[in-house]
């Protein structure tokens, strides 16, 4: 409550002109923002309303070369199970991102702390309000840890090639707040930029409580021109399980297209494929959706997923706002 009071007081004392989606400058060294996401989900077994994400964001530059970012998030803040008439709350804020950046040059920059794992495109901007669908493709959370706690070296190798090299050799900064728990992760990625599209390639290796080693290779493509955006990402991994001496492969990919058919209105379609040979599990999803942005930092979305396991077919609508 004191924290909220401080934020409100600071806002009145230091606020410059505020514009939704652009954050609020509280001082030369601090800009704050926030985002929220609510959704309603309906499938054969689930009928629920969720205040999914509430996040607070603070960042700034302490010098031209030295900057920081902190993001705290409460996921599943409030869930109302409409079938069983049950409620669940989670008001604990976790560290989603917390890092410092130092720029030696455009060729060599360092990021230290907990950061989004620099793989592909989807994972780099994972919040609902900035995406065209409420759901995330299986690709984005089944194979690799979404966040890394450690060191990221990045920069440009040339005018149009960017690299990322990252390593984790400790526990997560907020243990438990990651899709895959690891304390040993290393990876490398390259992105080549063209006029209207870019392609990236990455590989990495990590272990978790189930795997003694997973090696993955991923490739991504992003095309954007005028009213059309196409995203395609694929990843293959080879796993050594702690419980089994054999090696098993996993595959995940998606292809998504979105089209702005009228100003502020987007149609979106996505195909997803996921296969895990260890669990002998396969899933395919075809999605159609609609995204309405009255203004860009506000997104109202609806989607229907046709799943190869028909029990998992679902309808989702959401409202998300970036402050």
């Amino acid at each position: 409550m004191r924290f909220l009071f401080f934020i409100l007081l600071s806002t009145f004392l230091f606020a410059e002109k505020y514009e939704l989606g652009h954050g609020l400058s509280l001082s030369k060294y601090l800009k704050v923002g926030s985002y929220i996401s609510t959704k309603y989900k309906d499938s054969k077994d689930i009928d629920e309303f969720e205040l999914d994400d509430i996040a607070l964001l603070g960042y700034g530059s302490l010098s031209p070369k030295f900057s920081y970012l902190l993001e705290l998030e409460a996921a599943g803040f409030y869930i109302k199970d409409l079938t069983n008439k049950k409620e669940e709350t989670n008001e604990h804020f976790h560290i989603e991102r917390a890092y410092f950046d130092y720029k030696f040059s455009d060729k060599f920059k360092i990021r230290v702390g907990k950061f989004i794992t620099p793989i592909g495109y989807w994972n780099l901007v994972p919040i609902t309000v900035l995406k065209d669908t409420t759901s995330n493709p299986l690709y984005s959370y089944k194979i690799f840890p979404r966040f890394t706690t450690g060191l990221n070296l990045y920069g440009f190798l040339s005018d149009d090639i960017e690299y990322n090299a990252f390593i984790q050799k400790s526990k997560d900064l907020d243990t438990g707040y990651n899709n895959i728990q690891t304390d040993d992760f290393i990876g490398l990625g390259l992105t080549k930029y063209f006029d209207d599209f870019s392609v990236s390639l990455g590989l990495g290796q990590f272990e978790d409580e189930r795997l003694s080693e997973r090696i993955y290779l991923d490739t991504s493509l992003k095309y954007k021109k005028s009213k059309v955006e196409v995203l395609a990402e694929a990843i293959v991994s080879r796993d050594e399980h702690k419980s089994d001496s054999d090696k098993y492969d996993s595959y995940a990919l998606y292809l998504q297209g979105s089209y702005k058919f009228i100003k502020k209105h987007y149609l979106v379609s996505r195909y997803e494929y996921f296969k895990d040979n260890f669990d002998d599990y396969k899933e395919e999803i075809f999605l159609i959706g609609y995204n309405y942005r009255p203004i860009y930092p506000i997104s109202i979305k609806g989607e229907y997923q046709f799943n190869s396991h028909s029990d998992l077919n679902k309808f989702i609508i959401s409202l998300s706002i970036l402050f």
Binding site: G21, H22, G23, K31, G33, Y35, L57, Y59, P64, K65, S67, Y68, L69, K103, S105, D106, V125, I127, L130, F156, D159, D160, Y296, P297, L322
Partner: protein, 132 residues
């Protein structure tokens, strides 16, 4: 009629004479369109080893509109959306000067500052590093 034709021709010949400038003291002599775009989108902050500070004019400035169209290749909506995503990534847009006079003064006093102005407004303290 001939005078009108000459006027139209002259106007079209000089219509897009805008330049990107830096202080005469800077070691930077030229910049490619791609790097210039990256600098204004804050993906890069250096040219060689020289730190660069991009400056925008106000949103309604004729020179800025031309710069955004010619160099960034983005319309105002796309740019606005880009900076909303930038906010999530912890990146802020370039600082803004209200006039070309203010922009030139900033460039003169802040090492590495760059900005765009009309070609005829270039003065002896400034160096042209890109023309569009």
């Amino acid at each position: 009629m001939k005078i009108l034709l000459i006027l139209i021709l002259t106007t079209s010949l000089f219509a897009n004479s805008f330049v990107v400038v830096i202080s005469k003291e800077s070691k930077v002599d030229k910049i490619s369109k791609r790097v210039l775009k990256d600098i204004y989108l804050k993906k890069r902050t250096f040219i060689d080893d020289n730190e660069i500070v991009p400056i925008n004019l106000e949103a309604q400035s004729e020179v800025r509109l031309s710069f955004e169209e010619e160099v960034l290749g983005m319309d105002r909506d796309e740019i606005n959306n880009f900076w909303i995503e930038g906010h999530y990534k912890g990146i802020t847009p370039p600082i803004v000067q209200k006039s070309e006079k203010g922009l030139k003064l900033f460039i003169k006093n802040v090492e590495g500052a760059i900005g765009y102005i009309k070609k005829e407004k270039v003065t002896k303290e400034l160096k042209v590093i890109y023309e569009f």
